[in-house]
């Protein structure tokens, strides 16, 4: 497609050059230009939003372990088991029982991220009087609105419109060469719409193919446009065509120069589920985001999507509640996010990216007769990243206090998005004002606040402890104890000063929590030793003296 003639000529005429911090900056004429330089924050941080499309069943994602019997009673045909091979995974053995939750058995990868201090769970997220319609509720999440409000724009659109004034006419430019937002797929959601004009984001599937395609087609668009309804639609098409042309080659270059690390992104669900949900839709999208970022993409917000969560029927298989559609979807989410996070770490991008999940609503606490669940209210949200304030926010939903079979809300979704904007993207007060989120600044959920500083990972240290053995120095019987946050294969052994294993104290699968082991060390020659606890998450060691 070709660019409009008058834009081509206008840019050479109306451009002035000046120096900013020693770097020449070309600024197109227009009121927004200087404002832009002054207004936008210079962080290179990125938010990746994962939409769980259809209304995710929060209660089967994070099972309230403190109320397991009630949980099972409310949804006997779909309740996940708390025993056996595929039982729920206790997320955290250090939290009070009111917060103790079990992840779906297919979310082991998220458990791993959590133990590494890279995940937060926020319980009971919704908004007041949450709407039972997929469409209206999704619009509300995208609009950043309350139940009784309606905007013609989305919260991300308003935020980015403030950060990049003069869009689209003055973009791309040197300070923002890329689309402010990218949605993977074929649509641009309401989230990225502004009050007027084309959205702040563009949607793409494969940048390379797109570039090749766009270079084959189109012609010159008209230069003058009637002031009429017809003219407005024409302008919409022409503006999008122009942005496509401008961004296509850039995105294609970024994509070509970018790469993924050797991480294996998941492709298929390894267990039983209907054919339609076996393939991981999310992984290739996240893989592309990582690759674009590695290529140098400066886009601020990515929106990816995984569908199929509207599980009115056959959410689980009748013969096994841990199998079926919902299990496959949660596996996809969990495994794709883990691969993405590992990829970012390997690519050196982990410091820049915050990832959040959201869904239009949760599902009803009481299941229906079709091995499924109907539309509900609040649900948990997951937040991922190296700088996330890891842990669990809020308590398990109170299953004895349902309203029409539904869960009560604990947090408004805007309390989370406001934190993403202010604490992560460093949005200014005026940006928050423009996003209409000013009411949520003071009570925002503190999603950011990394306790992972360098190699010292306080969050993990609290959850994987090797206690001092006693007595120490020891003559015969030594008492060892350690704490692990969840069932795993561990080994506890004694090494000599040269690092050779001299004695095994324990090996095998241990449950989450504190473990005590006594061992007779009388066979050991006197001297200094190290005892080491090895877990899949972390290794910890301490010194021991044998008398």
């Amino acid at each position: 497609m070709k660019r409009r003639k008058f834009i081509q000529s206008a840019s050479s005429l109306a451009t002035s050059s000046f120096m900013l911090g020693g770097i020449p900056v070309n600024v197109l004429a227009g009121s927004g230009a200087l404002q832009r330089v002054a207004g936008s924050s210079d962080t290179d941080r990125v938010v990746v939003l994962i939409q769980l499309h259809g209304g995710n069943d929060g209660l089967n994602t994070t099972v309230p372990l403190d109320q397991y019997a009630i949980y099972q009673h409310l949804r006997p045909n779909i309740a996940l088991p708390n025993g056996g091979n595929r039982r729920v995974i206790t997320l955290d053995h250090t939290v009070p029982s009111a917060q103790s939750l079990g992840l779906h058995p297919d979310m082991a990868d998220l458990k791993n991220l959590y133990d590494h201090g890279k995940m937060a769970v926020v319980q009971g997220v919704a908004y007041e009087n949450i709407n039972g319609s997929h469409f209206r509720s999704r619009d509300i999440w995208f609009m950043g609105a309350g139940y009784d409000e309606s905007f013609d724009s989305g919260w991300m659109g308003r935020y980015l419109d403030h950060e990049y004034p003069g869009f689209p006419d003055e973009y791309p430019n040197t300070s923002m060469p890329d689309p402010p937002a990218i949605e993977i797929g074929n649509v641009v959601s309401l989230a990225f719409h502004r009050a007027n004009g084309i959205p702040m984001g563009i949607s793409i599937q494969n940048p390379e193919q797109f570039y090749n395609l766009i270079n084959q087609v189109g012609g010159l668009p008209p230069e003058s446009i009637a002031n009429s309804y017809y003219g407005q639609e024409l302008k919409w098409i022409i503006d999008i065509e122009e942005k496509s042309n401008q961004y296509a080659s850039r995105l294609s270059e970024l994509y070509k120069s970018g790469k993924n690390s050797p991480v294996t992104y998941p492709e298929l669900y390894p267990f039983n589920a209907p054919a339609g949900v076996l393939r991981n839709q999310l992984a290739p999208q996240l893989k592309m985001v990582a690759r674009l970022l590695d290529g140098g993409c400066k886009t601020r917000v990515f929106l990816v999507r995984i569908g199929g969560f509207d599980t009115h029927a056959r959410q689980v298989e009748s013969f096994d509640a841990t199998m079926g559609i919902h299990s496959a979807l949660l596996y996809h989410l969990s495994s794709a996010v883990k691969a993405f996070q590992d990829d970012l770490r390997n690519l050196g991008l982990e410091d820049r990216v915050l990832t959040m999940t959201f869904s239009e609503f949760g599902r009803r606490a009481i299941s229906n007769g079709s091995f499924g669940s109907d539309h509900g209210t609040s649900a948990p949200m997951f937040v991922f990243g190296k700088h996330v304030n890891a842990g669990i926010f809020g308590d398990n939903p109170d299953l004895s206090n349902l309203r029409n079979g539904n869960l009560e809300q604990q947090f408004d979704y805007r309390q989370l998005f406001t934190s993403a904007l202010t604490d992560w993207l460093e949005a200014s007060d005026s940006a928050i004002q423009a996003t209409y989120f000013n009411d949520y600044v003071t009570n925002r959920v503190p999603l950011i606040g990394g306790r992972v500083v360098g190699l010292d990972n306080q969050f993990t240290n609290e959850r994987f402890r090797l206690n001092a053995c006693f007595p120490n120095p020891v003559q015969n019987l030594a008492n060892f104890s350690f704490f692990i946050n969840g069932e795993q294969n561990i080994s506890l052994k004694i090494l000599d000063v040269k690092g050779r294993e001299v004695m095994k104290i324990a090996e095998g699968r241990f449950g989450g929590g504190e473990h005590f082991i006594s061992k007779d060390l009388s066979q050991l020659s006197p001297g200094s030793y190290v005892y080491i606890l090895e877990t899949p998450i972390v290794n910890r060691s301490k010194k021991l003296v044998k008398l």
Binding site: E233, S244, A313
Partner: protein
């Protein structure tokens, strides 16, 4: 102010005829436009609303015969293949260029009742669903809504077949309110959406309990000839229906619905009583002004313009909604009134700014069908080689998907974004990706589409088209004018015309050169030179922003 009064009764003329046909068909040919231009509005509408004949069912390649009628021998092809055939059969009529509104209304009804084929395992169910749309497109939209409550495909699509006494499934009930009838008003409090509330959803689900899928497709209703779902149970009893009283909110006037006197035996409702409940329920829902207004707005957005101003709401939507209730949801009078109105033809005020002509972005179906029909593209039909016929349609469906329309597979149960997603509505068809693919189709159909690397499946023969449709092809300016005036949805500036005419068609050479080339072709029958220029010209028009609109 926006007026529903009819326009004058003189001949429509080209501009009005073209506007009417672009909005009510899948794109007219130049000849269609010229023919309608001679008619006055009432004559034009008489023609437009003439029903089309009941279509013959789709054919299986393996047997060369139909398979959808119950009690006929089974088809040889696997079910997934038959579903593909059924979709092809359904879209084929859109590509054939009928000059009637029937096909466009079928498309409208599909956007109103979008169903997802992945949830429907049987092609025959899909076929009967499509026949329901065909049967009621020009009929009573309330009756259609009743049928949708126990249409086999819909029972699958929104889990209605799982909705039973003591184990309700609300999926269909909710969407029946929100997507199909009263729509969702502003939320006024917990669980209350003005037009209905959460309790209404539960009560409606109870009314709708007990229906099941009839996989033998033998429950053919005499008045339509269409196979429907059944009520589960033996003999006269609707065993799985909830026979209790269902209480609706103030939004429905606190109506209670229950089986009629004598309709319950030993706590079980009879089938007759259950059907009576269903009809009572439809009467209650369709008596609401909200239902009529919701439908009127959808029709307005589909046929006129996607933004509804306060004055349009007051002067167009409200009177049409009243008429819908008064006519008991017979659709023809309402549409005739709207499509003959001064508002539709922008004859209600002097300002051009609110001219709706050309202000709707075509769906991918309309985009491709309008190109195929206008230029009379070669396109295999089902009377010839069935394999090629289905290949051509498979290609078109692939194109639709690339252009953002996953036919019978919308991402959501509310269907394709263009028909409901505020604020952009039909603008949702246009994204970086989809626009490029729309243009690419304009390029490919001129070059010839041959997905199987053999003969062209779909191709515009530009020389044949010009020979058959243009009054004086050797005059380049007449040729360009006649094509552009009939093809593009609104007038273009002289400058823009000169771009297509001089830069593309003439390649900046003179019109004398064209005359020379045309005559040379006529003498030698070697059309190489004129074909190259015509292909560039028509391809450029199909890849223009203007052609995206209707």
């Amino acid at each position: 102010m926006p007026s529903l009064l009819p326009i004058d009764n003189g001949p429509l003329g080209r501009k009005r005829a073209a506007h009417l046909l672009r909005r009510t068909t899948f794109g007219p040919s130049g000849k269609d436009i010229d023919r309608y231009a001679q008619l006055n509005i009432q004559q034009a509408l008489d023609q437009l609303f003439t029903p089309t004949a009941r279509p013959l069912p789709p054919l299986d390649i393996a047997t060369g015969a139909a398979w959808v009628n119950p009690n006929t021998a089974g088809a040889n092809s696997p079910e997934w293949q038959l579903i593909e055939y059924t979709l092809s059969w359904w879209t084929d009529r859109f590509m054939r260029g009928e000059d009637r509104i029937h096909a466009r209304l079928i498309w409208y009804l599909h956007t109103h009742y979008p169903i997802i084929k992945e949830r429907i395992p049987r092609s025959t169910a899909l076929y009967h669903h499509m026949m329901l749309l065909w049967h009621y497109a020009l009929g009573n939209y309330k009756e259609l809504a009743v049928k949708m409550c126990y249409d086999n495909a819909m029972l699958w699509h929104l889990d209605g077949h799982l909705n039973e006494k003591d184990r309700p499934n609300e999926n269909f009930a909710r969407e029946f309110f929100e997507l199909f009838t009263v729509g969702k008003g502003m939320q006024t409090g917990p669980d209350n959406y003005t037009t209905f509330d959460e309790n209404d959803v539960r009560e409606a689900a109870r009314v709708l309990t007990g229906f099941g899928i009839d996989q033998s497709f033998s429950n053919v209703e005499p008045e339509t000839g269409i196979a429907m779902g059944i009520l589960k149970g033996d003999g006269q009893m609707a065993q799985r229906h909830d026979a209790g009283i269902k209480n609706f909110s103030a939004a429905f006037g606190n109506v209670a619905i229950a089986p009629p006197q004598g309709g319950v035996i030993n706590g079980v409702a009879t089938k007759e009583a259950t059907m009576q409940e269903l009809h009572d329920f439809a009467d209650m829902v369709f008596a609401q002004p909200a239902t009529a207004a919701f439908l009127a707005r959808k029709l307005y957005r589909f046929f006129v313009y996607y933004e509804i101003s306060d004055t349009v709401e007051r002067d167009i939507i409200t009177p049409l909604a009243e008429q819908l209730i008064n006519s008991d949801y017979q659709i023809i009078p309402i549409l005739r009134r709207l499509l003959s109105s001064r508002h539709f033809f922008d004859d209600d005020n002097a300002t051009e700014e609110d001219d709706v002509t050309g202000a709707i972005i075509k769906s991918p179906v309309e985009l491709m069908a309008s190109a195929i029909h206008f230029f009379d593209a070669e396109f295999p039909d089902s009377d010839g080689d069935l394999t090629r016929f289905y290949q051509a349609h498979a290609f078109l469906r692939g194109q639709m998907q690339l252009q953002g329309l996953d036919l019978f597979e919308p991402f959501d149960v509310n269907g394709y974004d263009a028909y409901h997603q505020m604020p952009a509505f039909n603008r949702n068809w246009i994204t970086a990706n989809t626009l490029a693919h729309r243009y690419k189709f304009g390029l490919d159909i001129v070059n010839g589409i041959k997905p199987m690397n053999d003969n062209d499946l779909i191709k515009i023969d530009v020389v044949r088209f010009v020979n058959q449709n243009i009054s004086q092809p050797e005059e380049a300016i007449i040729l360009a004018r006649e094509i552009i005036d009939h093809l593009l949805p609104n007038e273009i500036t002289e400058e823009r015309f000169m771009y297509f005419y001089r830069e593309i068609l003439l390649d900046t050479l003179s019109e004398i050169n064209w005359r020379f080339e045309w005559r040379a072709y006529k003498q030698s029958q070697d059309d190489t030179a004129v074909r190259i220029q015509l292909e560039k010209f028509i391809s450029a028009l199909l890849q223009s922003p203007e052609f995206q609109l209707c």
